[in-house]
Amino acid sequence: MYLSVQQSIFYLFAFVSVLYVTHLGLYLITANLYDIWLYRHKQTRKPFVSDPLGPMPMPPYTQHTPGLVSVIISAHNETKVITRSLDSLRKSRYPYMEVIVADDASQDGTLQLVRDYIVRHPDLNLRVYRMRKNIGKGAALNCLLRRYVHGEFVMTLDADSIVHPDTIGNALSYFADPNIAGVAANVRIMDDPTVLGVLQKFEHMIGYRSKKMYSLLNCEFVIGGVASTYRMSVLERVGYYDTDTVTEDIGLSIKITSLGNRTHRMVYAADVVAMTEGVASFRALVKQRYRWKYGSFQNIIKYRHIILSLDTQYSRALTLYRLPMALISELVLLLAPLAWGYVLYMTFIQYNLTLIIGAYATVTLYMLITIWLDENLRPVGRLRLSGYALISYFIFFIMDFVQLIGIIRCLRRSHALVTQQNTGGRWTSPKRIGRKVQHVYEA
């Protein structure tokens, strides 16, 4: 049947509206179910999964030392923030860990700073290795993984991030299930009272809340670089990080998923809490989101055989829902200006504000529920964020705009994407602020 342009736009808009409203509802419903599961899990879990028969081994360690966690940090010009990160690790309640820093040819004295830290804090099992030249984050981490890591588990951490004292212990509790290959942390944005800071904080809260659904349905395939924990044996099996993509963390998690996500599960752990700095400027945000988007596309194209696959080693939720939806949502983003044109025009000619008021109420209520059911906020923080939630509907347009710029830039480089040209290599850290943080559980 022939559809006019006007009809096509209407049906497209109707499809997207229903899809988004349904998704928002499902995120909230499954997040509640996840929370119930998590509380139950916390009641029954063992504090540390490894070495149930006796005390943990002491140095010198050998490879795959049971129960030992190797925390690896790749740093490039991180003098402003790296001691804050090391301080948080020193306060960790999990005692059996080694911390290894890869200084990726920093020019600002990061190496000297870490060496000083080693001398000043001999209680922290910390080592630092310097790369001769800037080889990129993934390659620097690979160097550590291949040559210096001794742990049964590996946690990756960014130099600008901090962890809660219970983060490592909580992460390990998930590995009691032998099918768990990786655990994604609950990453929060540090306090920043600017519009950009609030926007990033809200976006992270919503994004990580949606991970609860993906984790329950076993269709998570994106694990970020902050406080993510893996089994070392799995990392060895997949050959560590890929260095030919711009987002090595997404690349690693989807590579592990490609082994079969029924036996190599990625889970989200809401009680594995870490904090990281948001970017400080609009330009940096655009650059960051473009890089994330480009990297996601690179990896989805690279592992495209999983999409719509009926192979029994993958969950149907991953192959038939999560991965196709990841692509559809990008396409929808491209059509966002058209959708908003439609809404504004119909609202204007009908003098009917129902849809706009409904959309505002839905987003605001969604944000308020997310804030009030968040496990890691204090009452004052909840109240303050609730005030911001009233304008969240409007500030999310900024993120839509940023994402739209990102996808347009990706399309302009679509040839390089499809032909999978090598884009790894050198890296530079975004401008760091070096905020002081009193407590990881805060608004």
Partner: protein, 69 residues
């Protein structure tokens, strides 16, 4: 005025004026929203009851477990 006319004309050509269809869509979205929000409310009540009342009470009766965050 001239630009407004062009915008109005372009929008009319692109989106049409099928107001009945638009109203049907709004009604359907409202219905879907009401159903979903009802389930959200139910699961939220269940979450609060189970996490904050039942499990905490269980924890209080057996102090050996790890405390909830």
């Amino acid at each position: 005025m001239f630009i407004a006319d062009i915008l109005h004309h372009t929008a009319h050509l692109t989106f049409g004026r099928n107001t009945a269809q638009f109203k049907q869509l709004v009604a359907m979205l409202a219905l879907v929203s009401v159903i979903l929000w009802s389930i959200v409310l139910l699961t939220t009540v269940a979450r609060i009851l189970l996490c904050h009342v039942w499990y905490r009470r269980q924890y209080a009766s057996s102090r050996t477990n790890m405390p909830p965050i």
